[in-house]
């Protein structure tokens, strides 16, 4: 997948940090190595370039595929089984799924988009919400960190083994700015498509500027409205990615107190700080993150719905 160069630069010192970690603990590099994508020079799976784009699979791309497959299988299997029942009574996981679907349709999409367009836009927003929610939740579960611990203590796999490379750091796919930028691009085009579908191609662009204003004001508003069109998906991108990596950064910064204090005052001080300061704080932030995970999926869906609704109900 295409990666802007700055991510590459950020990811590079992470590899060096792994080598240097035995000598001195560097909190900044460890944290960035955990949050950033794995380096492009050593992707997990090598794939040939397609149209000049390197298609090799890195940590976040792998996670993206896993999350997409999980959502697809979970939803299709559950719904197929439900539809095949004789009496249409939801049970088990279908209850939760039905709650989510109804919540998104009735309290996010319908109030914003309007009754006429609910069935057009609910599928897209539902897909966005479920994907973001599952990606966020999977990022919160330390599966790969546990595997790394197992590898470090029991298995001792070589440096270039698949498991060793996978387990370098966290795996929140939505904590990567490229992933959220792709999601925001989808909502960017959805907003335009909603306006075009409701009003026709030329009317949609005319609707963006309020009618009935003096000409100088209208001319002044055009660049502002064009900027606003791009600022919205940009804000969506930044909000989701920053929230998702922010929690990880906070937890890791608190946990690195242990090593900083151990380096300064010895192992006992490190253990004490870890037990009485870092651990309770990290547990608290993890609890906060559980809320943030749901809220961010909700916010992304809500804002996309609001923007789609604004394009449809442009009564200027």
């Amino acid at each position: 997948m295409f990666q802007p160069p700055e991510v590459e630069h950020v990811a590079e010192p992470a590899g060096e940090a792994a080598h240097a970690a035995s000598e001195a603990f560097n909190a900044g590099e460890t944290i960035i190595g955990h949050v950033a994508n794995s380096s492009l020079e050593h992707p997990l799976i090598h794939l040939p370039p397609l149209f000049g784009i390197d298609m090799s699979v890195t940590k976040h791309v792998l996670m993206l595929w896993l999350v997409a497959a999980t959502v697809f299988l979970l939803v299709t299997v559950t719904v197929r089984r439900y539809v095949r029942q004789e009496r249409l009574v939801p049970s088990g996981f279908m209850n939760a799924l039905e709650f989510v679907v109804l919540f998104i349709r009735d309290s996010i999409v319908e109030p914003n988009v309007g009754r006429k367009w609910v069935n057009t836009w609910t599928p897209l927003l539902l897909t966005l919400a479920l994907f973001i929610l599952v990606a966020n939740v999977v990022g919160l579960i330390p599966i790969f960190d546990a595997l790394a611990l197992l590898n470090h203590t029991v298995l001792h796999l070589p440096e270039d083994a698949f498991l060793t490379q996978v387990t370098h750091g966290g795996v929140t796919a939505t904590g990567n700015y490229n992933v959220t930028a792709a999601l925001a691009t989808i909502s960017f085009f959805a907003i335009i498509a909603a306006g075009v579908k409701a009003h026709g191609f030329f009317k949609h662009w005319k609707n963006m500027v309020p009618h009935g204003l003096p000409l100088p004001v209208t001319l002044f508003l055009i660049p502002i409205e064009i900027m606003g069109m791009f600022v919205r998906p940009f804000a969506l991108t930044m909000r989701l990615a920053a929230n998702m990596s922010g929690g990880h950064i906070a937890i890791l910064a608190i946990m690195s107190f242990v090593f900083i204090f151990a380096g300064l005052y010895g192992a006992v001080a490190g253990a004490g700080i870890g037990l009485f300061v870092s651990l309770p704080l990290a547990v608290g932030i993890s609890a906060l993150e559980i809320i943030v995970v749901g809220v961010q999926a909700y916010v992304f869906t809500l804002l996309t719905a609001v923007f789609i609704g604004m394009a449809i109900h442009a009564h200027h």
């Binding site: 630069h9 950020v10 900044g28 109030p111 804000a235 969506l236 930044m238 909000r239 920053a242 929230n243 922010g246 916010v299 809500l302 804002l303 609001v306």
Partner: protein, 77 residues
């Protein structure tokens, strides 16, 4: 020396972001609580009306934090 000024700027900026976001969220929460206290039956509508500006505010604060972190990262390299 320049590096230290960059760090100081980031720290001050982050503090200002937190102050601004705190004032904004506090005003929103106060307004919502007052409105719900006056008219408890309208609580869902009030919550809905408060949610959107709350998230927009949060987005601006997060953007500012990202740029503060960018200043930090760009000055490290």
């Amino acid at each position: 020396m320049e590096l230290q000024f960059a760090f100081m700027g980031v720290a001050i900026g982050l503090g200002l972001i937190v102050i601004g976001a705190g004032i904004g969220i506090g005003k929103l929460a106060a307004g919502a609580a007052e409105a719900i206290g006056r008219q408890p039956s309208a609580a869902p509508q009030i919550t809905g009306a408060v949610n959107l500006p709350l998230f927009l505010l949060e987005g601006v604060a997060i953007l500012a934090e990202v740029f503060a972190l960018l200043v930090l990262l760009l000055n490290q390299g």
